[in-house]
């Protein structure tokens, strides 16, 4: 038994590896989330008209809202697939705590879906005519909030396990939870725009991430236990 507990971190890494393997067989899978995000971005100029000043005003908000909406379709499958094929049952017979496994799920989701979006976020900013000086702050704020977004997504995805029409229920459950992140995330750049300090908002983003880092694995594990106990 001792040997098992001593290699938690190995098991953790193994879980992350499996998730990455199942979800991103090829580079192409990584491209598609970025493509989706760019397409969301395209929709706004098409709707609003191409006037640069108009776009500049909304760019910050649109990128954050787009980010939240872009990950929603992928969230539903985050745990649902493993639930349906019985893998979560198998995980429940693992000697390492479910909380750790859930954390690994959150981390691998972040690696697969959020990291590509962080890396490409300057492109979104350019498309929406954001001022160049704001772009670094955009990247920083997205980086700061992205882990919280994944972890909230994880909890949401655990919440709808086995629910009917979970795909449409999920957004309703998680968007409200995302709102603080949206507000602080947007706030970073709005502060820059008016030459105020962005650190307050940035700090709050980190605080949020930290809170979710602590509670999300517990909540998700609890919900998964309930789901497989049905």
């Amino acid at each position: 038994m001792n040997s098992v507990y001593s290699n938690w971190s190995n098991i953790f890494i193994a879980h992350v590896k499996r998730d990455i393997l199942t979800n991103s067989r090829s580079l192409i899978d990584l491209i598609s989330i970025v493509g989706f995000m760019i397409l969301i971005i395209i929709l706004f100029p098409l709707g609003l008209g191409p006037i640069k000043e108009k776009l500049n005003i909304v760019s910050n908000a649109v990128i954050w809202v787009g980010l939240i909406l872009a990950i929603i379709p992928s969230l539903e499958k985050l745990l649902q697939k493993d639930f349906e094929n019985g893998w979560l049952d198998q995980i429940a017979t693992s000697p390492i705590p479910l909380e750790i496994i859930m954390l690994s799920k959150g981390i691998s989701y972040w690696l697969i879906m959020l990291i590509p979006l962080i890396i490409t976020s300057p492109i979104f900013a350019i498309l929406l005519a954001m001022d160049l000086k704001n772009i670094p702050w955009l990247v920083i704020s997205i980086s700061a909030g992205s882990l919280a977004i994944s972890l909230i997504g994880l909890s949401g995805s655990a919440l709808i396990l086995g629910a009917r029409r979970g795909n449409i229920l999920l957004p309703i459950l998680i968007i409200p939870l995302m709102i603080p992140i949206l507000i602080f995330g947007v706030g970073v750049n709005e502060a820059i725009k008016i030459n105020a300090s962005p650190y307050g908002n940035l700090f709050l983003l980190f605080a949020f991430t930290l809170i979710y880092l602590v509670i999300s694995p517990f909540i998700s594990a609890l919900l998964v236990r309930i789901a497989i106990g049905r």
Partner: protein, 214 residues
Amino acid sequence: MLYLKDLTIQRGNKIVFSNFNAIIKSGSTTLIKGKNGSGKSTLLRAIAGFTPLERGTIKRDNKDIFKNNEEWVENLIFLDTKNGLSKDLTVAENLNAWLTMKGWSSNKEIIKMALKSVGMEKYAELYISQCSEGLKKRAALSRLYISFINKVDFWILDEPTNELDTTSLVLFKKLVFKFLEQKGTIIIASHDQNIIEKNFYTLDLDELKKQRVS
């Protein structure tokens, strides 16, 4: 020994078991029979520690399996009709993921031997999405072989033989006998009475329910 005491288990709004009692003997095979919907799968999932009990206790040698859950599941292999295989991984990758998930070391040799034990060595590199029903089942059953390498003393199997052809049925039985030899305990739910030929007990849920009514 596994003591099921005064179990009451609910599925949805339906009470599937109420005040159910049974003893599962160590080192033997228990075959759970019963008509469709009688609660075989429910019982197995409760014993595995998945489904919480409304009332009652399940104890293994005086240890409550829910309270000492980590200890209980560590040496347990649970398999049901959902095989727990990821479609997007190959047969070998699935087994590998399962091994590390269980906290056991994994290497090519072990995986090869495990797959061989169910006649799947040829299919190691096949994606699960490309497997036929029987091949999927065998990919799942290959996990049983790991019991002979790591410390496993309990199998819970829900209809493990449904899709198996005759050759793999023989292989499965071989695994069962080998496991019994090393004093493992097995609970199988199945409609196939001939699944096990020696050293087995039957738990007929229909009989038990009938007795309670009368």
